[in-house]
């Protein structure tokens, strides 16, 4: 059994830098703390976000991947989010999109809501779960340099691939501001330009 209490952890920043350096024309679906950081590091009109439907990043990315087999799709998922839609590991493995990379930010907590511990925080291992579900490749990294030297080989091979990144949580929480009436939700604003870019 994995012991997460003694595992090495990198900063979220360093983890996302490794990915941002490889960003080309992939569709990227971000969520939770990683999403805000990603949008700053890699602003792009092919960024999508899972905001307001916790757990939906992996399957939103799956749909895009299945619709565009020649385009790489990256999902940057939260560990608590994946826990909420854990069955999506089986759904993704069954559909078997070769072009899907599923990153899981394993900080062990629900950072966005105030860093409460995940159920099975001390043991949960999403790479093992993805392997058991039938992903083509899985890997785990707690050191950014190791991740940096291994990722190109992982990207070159067929997916679906799950990469679990052990990161250090910051202690913060998200306090929702009131949404003024008539506001267009983030997803409704984000996806039409992505659809247009993919069609063009």
């Amino acid at each position: 059994m994995t012991d997460n209490s003694s595992v090495q952890r990198m900063s979220l920043d360093a983890a996302l830098d490794v990915l941002a350096r490889r960003r080309e024309e992939q569709v990227v679906v971000g969520t939770m703390t990683a999403n805000g950081a990603w949008r700053q590091k890699s602003p792009h009109d092919l960024n999508l976000a899972c905001i307001g439907f916790m757990g939906g990043a992996s399957t939103l990315g799956l749909g895009v991947a299945l619709s565009q087999p020649d385009r790489d799709v990256w999902v940057i998922d939260g560990d608590g989010s994946l826990m909420m839609q854990l069955g999506s590991l089986g759904t993704i493995a069954g559909a078997a999109p070769a072009n899907l990379l599923h990153i899981v930010i394993h900080n062990g907590v629900y950072e966005t809501s105030g860093s409460q511990p995940l159920p099975s925080q001390q043991q949960v291992d999403f790479a093992q779960m993805a392997e058991g579900a039938g992903y083509a490749q899985t890997a785990s990294f707690g050191d950014a340099e190791e991740f940096d030297s291994a990722i190109d080989e992982l990207l070159a091979a067929d997916g679906p691939t799950l990469i679990q990144l052990y990161t250090r949580p910051a202690d913060r929480f998200y306090s929702a501001r009131p949404t003024p009436p008539g506001t267009t939700p983030a997803l409704a604003r984000m996806w039409p330009p992505v659809a247009e870019a993919l069609a063009g």
């Binding site: 939906g56 939103l60 839609q85």
Partner: protein, 168 residues
């Protein structure tokens, strides 16, 4: 009024005529004869999900990439998909058509009079979510299938079709 069973091949034809490319599903006992045909179909792809919440997000992703999906689930799955129906289909303004089987419905009664909560609460829930629905109570109602796709496009949002009795 007695609801009539819809033959599986007729429902499949209606799905095909609506231009559906992907059927995103969690199996519905009630529509199993249609599922058997769909899984053997060479043109329409079936995508099997673990939960209906996922099926909503997969459908949305397919639409982003230019495909024409349809969700096929049962009433229990509607209840299981509410957070993504709200957060993805409604908030994201995705024209997703859902084909929902009313398993166990008494064909002599309106769904709202049914003894089973799964059947009875279906339309009231859809109304609360502001999702239009159309009841398929026999082969004569199959015109709703293609129309639902037009309605979903016009509304920029989901539309539900309720399969009133077990398909034959």
């Amino acid at each position: 009024m007695t609801a009539q069973s819809i033959p599986a091949d007729q429902l499949l034809s209606a799905i095909r005529e609506a231009g559906v490319q992907d059927v995103v599903l969690v199996p519905d006992t009630h529509q199993r004869t249609v599922l058997d045909l769909l899984m053997d179909d060479e043109e329409i792809r079936t995508i099997h999900c673990s939960t209906e919440d996922e099926a909503v997000a997969v459908s949305a992703g397919l639409i982003i990439g230019g495909r024409r999906p349809m969700m096929q689930i049962q009433h229990a799955g509607l209840y299981a998909s509410v957070n993504n129906l709200r957060g993805v289909a409604l908030d994201g303004q995705f024209p997703i058509v859902l084909l929902i089987g009313l398993l166990g419905r008494d064909p002599e009664l309106e769904p709202e009079e049914d003894g089973s909560s799964m059947v009875r609460l279906c339309r009231p829930l859809l109304e609360t979510l502001d999702i239009p629905s159309h009841l398929l109570d026999g082969p004569d109602d199959l015109h709703h299938v293609a129309e639902a796709f037009d309605e979903a496009q016009e509304r920029n949002g989901p539309v539900a079709l309720l399969v009133g009795t077990t398909t034959s």
